[in-house]
């Protein structure tokens, strides 16, 4: 199943909201944007990616196969949204 029915912008917004609430204590200073290097800054680590993948499966109806889990695909919200939509 894919989230082809959702626009890339909607997916980006949902991902940003989820990452803010779940990993960044709400991100009060609004530091996260779609280009923030999530892996490099440790916003997503090996434990958190499990939570993120569960969110993508549940809320965005997309199962991301293990072979797609790479540094390039999870670099930032823009990349993850592209992966989810395509």
């Amino acid at each position: 199943m894919t989230a082809a029915h959702l626009s890339e912008q909607v997916v980006k917004d949902k991902l940003i909201e989820f990452i803010r609430e779940t990993f960044l204590s709400g991100d009060p200073d609004r530091e996260l944007d779609e280009g923030t290097p999530l892996l490099e800054w440790g916003v997503i680590d090996s434990m958190r990616i499990v939570v993120l993948l569960a969110f993508i499966r549940r809320e965005l109806s997309t199962d991301i196969p293990m072979t797609q889990i790479s540094g390039a695909n999870f670099r930032n919200v823009r990349k993850i949204a592209a992966l989810v939509v395509h």
Partner: protein, 380 residues
């Protein structure tokens, strides 16, 4: 649902029990410097233990996770050298499994046969001074240079390393990609730039030597990479899924042996004119030990069964790993209490069970990390 072992499963376990009785691989160890040697290892290998779940095409037993665990349980029950059982299981699960699943065909052909038949000893070298529970950032680096990766860095606590022929190790190939910038390698120890330190003195599992591994400009040809570049965390998770599911089974065996010893002791040791087992303080302790053992065993069998059915259930594995390791520590404390002073004396085997059990709550992800995995999966 069927709680009976099949005839084939029973026969495999009996063959291991019988083989351990006749070959006696390993023995109760006398001190932290008393390690197994290649002769002990070869005996375990002769029983098929070094290749249980490796592919038949490369000399392995081709067993699934549950059957592998049942064999390790039998080994743990009959082999007094828990360090040897641990070393063999770590070789198989943390090294054999990822080489079988992720190595290039060429590397599989080169290494797997020897790993399965035990002529090659493997060690898993992940942990670093600054990377224990959190293995998402490794100081060890692997830099591309032509057809090779040049490894630099220091690993620690690699079980089997002082005797190893091959290391399964992990290094950062792209720092900007965080935990997705880690790559896995099978490194033959004969490569220039690999140095293994002396065995570290440990509290228990004396039979199994663990040591530091140093990579100093060690050029590892690309064919030794496991999986794709950047896939190291996934390779490691795959190996840990197997290790966390199957390896604790050897402790189920230890606990079964211990329960038997405690029951016998409580039946013959007399104080105040009666067997101590006639005192509820003792007999109920034995009952509680059995409860912990059997509960843990069911969780472990189920976790392995789920793994065999490709039902990726990290929670079941984490529950099982926690239950077995906590049962091992609690029951081993109880055993010392039931044996009294004799349980505290070195050489009797009871105190060794406690020392060997304590690390089970640490290796393959600590109890706290298992709880964290369970909580995360629950959405907390």
């Amino acid at each position: 649902m069927d709680f009976d072992l099949t005839a084939a499963q029973r026969m495999r376990r009996e063959a291991i029990a019988e083989g351990v009785r006749t070959l006696s691989p390993g023995r109760l160890r006398a001190g932290p410097d008393d390690h197994f040697d290649r002769a002990d290892w070869a005996k375990a290998a002769e029983l098929g233990l070094t290749g249980l779940c490796l592919p038949v095409s490369h000399g392995g037993g081709g067993l699934g996770a549950l059957d592998t665990a049942l064999c390790l349980e039998a080994f743990g029950e009959h082999c007094p050298d828990t360090g040897l059982a641990f070393g063999v299981a770590a070789h198989l699960l943390a090294c054999g499994v990822p080489v079988a699943a992720f190595a290039t065909p060429e590397t599989r052909d080169q290494l797997l046969l020897g790993m399965a038949d035990g002529t090659l000893i493997a060690a898993n070298a992940m942990t670093e001074a600054a990377a224990g529970s959190d293995v998402g950032r490794l100081d060890t680096t692997a830099t591309v240079d032509g057809e090779a990766y040049v490894l630099d860095g220091v690993k620690t606590f690699a079980s089997n390393a002082p005797l190893a022929d091959v290391l399964v190790s992990y290094a950062t190939t792209d720092r900007r990609a965080g935990f997705l910038g880690i790559s896995a390698f099978a490194v033959p120890c004969e490569l220039p730039g690999v140095a293994v330190g002396d065995p570290l003195p440990k509290m228990g599992l004396w039979g199994c030597p663990a040591g530091e591994v140093r990579f100093d400009a060690c050029a590892v040809p690309e064919r030794y990479r496991l999986g794709e570049e950047g896939q190291g965390s996934a390779v490691f998770q795959h190996s840990m899924r197997w290790e966390r599911s199957c390896l604790p089974a050897l402790y189920l065996g230890l606990l079964a042996r211990q329960l038997q010893q405690c029951t016998e002791h409580a039946g013959v040791r007399r104080q105040f004119g009666r067997e101590i087992g006639k005192y509820q303080a003792v007999s109920h302790r034995v009952a509680r030990m059995r409860l912990r053992l059997e509960g843990a065993r069911l969780l472990l069998y189920r976790a392995c069964w789920l793994l065999d059915h490709e039902r990726h259930d990290e929670t079941s594995i984490a529950l099982s790993k926690t239950a077995v390791s906590e049962a091992a520590v609690a029951n081993s404390l109880d055993a010392v209490q039931i044996f009294g002073g004799a349980g505290y004396l070195c050489g009797g085997g009871i105190e060794a069970q406690l020392r060997d059990s304590i690390p089970a709550t640490l290796f393959s992800g600590t109890t706290e990390i298992q709880s964290e995995l369970i909580a995360r999966e629950a959405g907390l």
